[in-house]
């Protein structure tokens, strides 16, 4: 199957391409950019006039909820959502039921995802069995089964001795640790940033220091043990400063931030809006500004959706009892574009943070339109605004704090391995 994508504006940060070029896809791979390869005959032509053609997006955190939480979301619904949002490769955390801590489970998940022919799924394996922070998982076996790194999801290791050993073991084989920095004691029972809003609303707070204390520990242990560390979901100004400092000292550390933290603050909690109950909590305007600046100067390498679909009932509870998380994979592109336009940055800047940068962190051959690479492509209109409405979202979780917001950046086509997996008119 050969596809010709005509008259589009190609932006491919990985290869420094920013030009009006035709894209030729053959046998699931990028065959050429610009001039047709000899003998190329298109089976299908996509007219991309006025549209941007970019590498398919790469998302560092998408909860698929399978196995175990099918009432929140299913592999099918969330991978449909991913491709509707232009995401063609994603990392999924292991906090499922059962936990992704055994090779068989990882293989099964990848097999089932593959059969759906939607986005590529790259599991993050559990660092410790059942994420209990006690016994290491079989990291080599899990890597062979397809894991691209190891994480504790929202269950930080309490015992620093175990943490240290986990780092050493991972470093032995060159695996990357994907960890969120949060001191479990300071964050205990907390549901909002420990500041003015939480004090007013009577919500238990999580101080900014919960992040910086844990972060200092993680950075230090990573440095001592020579482990590649990826910090997930930075949320505070102090956290950004610590990562910046570590990078300046030459440490092999990367970081991401969620689209929610780039655009919202504690003030958005309003009158106990449970859709803004997310983890880590939304912080102050000062923190939000520092996060945006951190992405701008490269301290924060990538933007992710931290997609966490939940069922409606889980949000129809008092704020603290409502389940944390936002359904966000379909908004990764528009929210990254919004960040770039707010900071007078180019489309290339935005796209790099959601394609090549996260692909490098995961160490996967994605986020590029390089010749002979897998033809994972997103074609979108960067200018048309659309309104975020629950009924439009393909994700089973309608829990987005951005409901009713008008956003620019609408996906027209998503191609995975050279096949169109999403177009707006498709019946799914």
């Amino acid at each position: 199957m050969n596809i010709l994508i005509q008259h589009g504006h190609v932006i491919d940060p990985a290869n420094n391409v920013d030009a009006n070029l035709d894209v030729y896809v053959a046998n699931g791979k990028i065959a050429a950019l610009g001039n047709a390869p000899i003998g190329f005959k298109a089976d299908q032509t996509i007219d991309a006039t006025g549209l941007i053609v970019a590498p398919g997006l790469v998302d560092l955190s998408v909860r698929l909820r399978e196995p175990g939480f099918e009432y929140k979301a299913t592999l099918n619904s969330e991978l449909q959502a991913a491709t509707a949002g232009g995401v063609t490769s994603l990392a999924c955390p292991p906090d499922t039921e059962p936990t992704l801590d055994e090779p068989g489970l990882v293989e099964m998940l990848r097999y089932r995802a593959k059969k759906l022919n939607l986005a590529h799924v790259y599991p993050l394996g559990a660092l410790t069995r059942q994420l209990q922070g006690k016994n290491l998982t079989e990291m080599c076996e899990l890597t062979e089964a397809g894991c691209v790194g190891f994480t504790q999801a929202d269950f930080p290791i309490v015992d620093t001795q175990i943490l240290w050993r986990a780092f050493e073991y991972a470093a032995t084989f060159g695996y990357t640790m994907f960890l969120r920095a949060e001191d479990p004691y300071l964050a205990k029972d907390g549901v909002a940033h420990d500041g003015e809003v939480a004090s007013r609303l009577g919500l238990k707070g999580i101080p900014a220091a919960a992040e910086s204390l844990a972060l200092a520990t993680l950075l230090r242990i990573a440095r001592e043990t020579g482990t590649r560390l990826h910090i997930q979901r930075l949320s505070t100004a102090e956290g950004v400063a610590l990562v910046r400092q570590a990078k300046q000292q030459g440490q092999a550390v990367t970081a991401d931030v969620s689209t929610q933290h780039l655009h919202l603050t504690e003030l958005d909690i309003g009158f106990f809006n449970t859709l803004t109950h997310i983890r880590p909590p939304l912080r102050t305007q000062r923190d939000q500004f520092a996060l945006c600046e951190g992405v701008k100067d490269g301290t924060i390498d990538a933007i992710c959706s931290d997609h966490s679909p939940v069922d409606d009932d889980a949000k129809l509870l008092p704020f603290a009892e409502a389940e944390a998380g936002a359904s966000a994979v379909e908004l990764l592109l528009p929210l990254a574009l919004k960040w770039a336009s707010q900071h007078n940055l180019s489309l290339t800047d935005a796209i790099a943070r959601i394609t090549s940068a996260p692909a490098n962190i995961m160490g996967i051959p994605a986020g590029t339109l390089g010749i002979n690479h897998c033809a994972d492509i997103v074609i979108f209109n960067a200018e048309t605004y659309w309104k975020v409405e629950a009924k439009q979202l393909k994700s089973q979780g309608k829990n987005t704090p951005f409901l009713n917001l008008e956003l620019a950046g609408r996906v027209h086509y998503t191609l995975v391995e050279g096949l169109i997996t999403y177009e707006p008119s498709s019946p799914n």
């Binding site: 004090s199 007013r200 919500l203 707070g205 009158f271 009932d313 129809l316 509870l317 008092p318 704020f319």
Partner: protein
Amino acid sequence: MHNPQLHADGRLKHLLSIEGLPKRILNDILDTAESFVGVAEREVKKVPLLRGKTVCNIFFENSTRTRTTFEIAAKRLSADVLNLNVSTSSQSKGETILDTVNNLIAMHADMFVVRHNQSGAAHLIAQHVPDHISVINAGDGRHAHPTQGLLDVFTIRKYKPDMHNLRIAIVGDVLHSRVARSEIHALTTLGVPEVRVIAPKTLLPSNVEKLGVQVFHDMRAGLKDVDVVMMLRLQNERMTGAMLPSPQEYFKTYGLTQEKLRLAKPDAIVMHPGPMNRGVEIDSSVADGLQSVILPQVTYGIAVRMAVMAILAGGGQA
């Protein structure tokens, strides 16, 4: 952001929190309460303002005093009263808050009085009731206890009518106290120029000064020349542990004694939302002393709750 407590025309729709209510509404409630104080002294302690209406007290958290005063208030307004104690433990196994509420809506209740151990529970319910039903927050987690805040300012107004000329100290566990938050909002809205909070750092929420209060850790300095001392209840489970070492040390540092009270103005009044821990936050001689207005608080509480219900039901003066 639309204020969920108000109708589009600015009238009170629900009473969820003092925060965000204009002074006009607070004064309206206090003035209406004034007219209800006399009702209890009549031979027939009833007015017909809520005749034919059903008030439903839904208490997801145990309470005797607050529930009783709401019940008396509703009955004195001639309403039918339904009391429902839903223990949160049995609730967590099945029915959600909204299930419970929807069942009561189906029974044609007109007004809900709600208490819950989670901040924001009353807002959640208010968002999901049909237009004709009003919700009164009788305490949600650490967030708000607006009728307590109102009855406290009502009591203060009775003894110290010039609110614009007062210095008031709130003493104790502000961190966990919905009462303190409601008191602070009520006092600052009504124009009290100086509201102080006195507590150890472990019992103060972060950025508490943003609520418009001055912070004191030294009780003696904080009580100096105040007109009103509002004590807060210290929960048993917080008397020992990481917040405080012992009730004895707490009494020594933050308990109200005659000796400390002498630092306040000679005519200062002493208040407490009850139930009191004698010998922990307050000495018996102070609680039962001449400056104590703790029992009048309870009496006025009924009038204030009657006023809130009457205003929400669209009625006015007695």
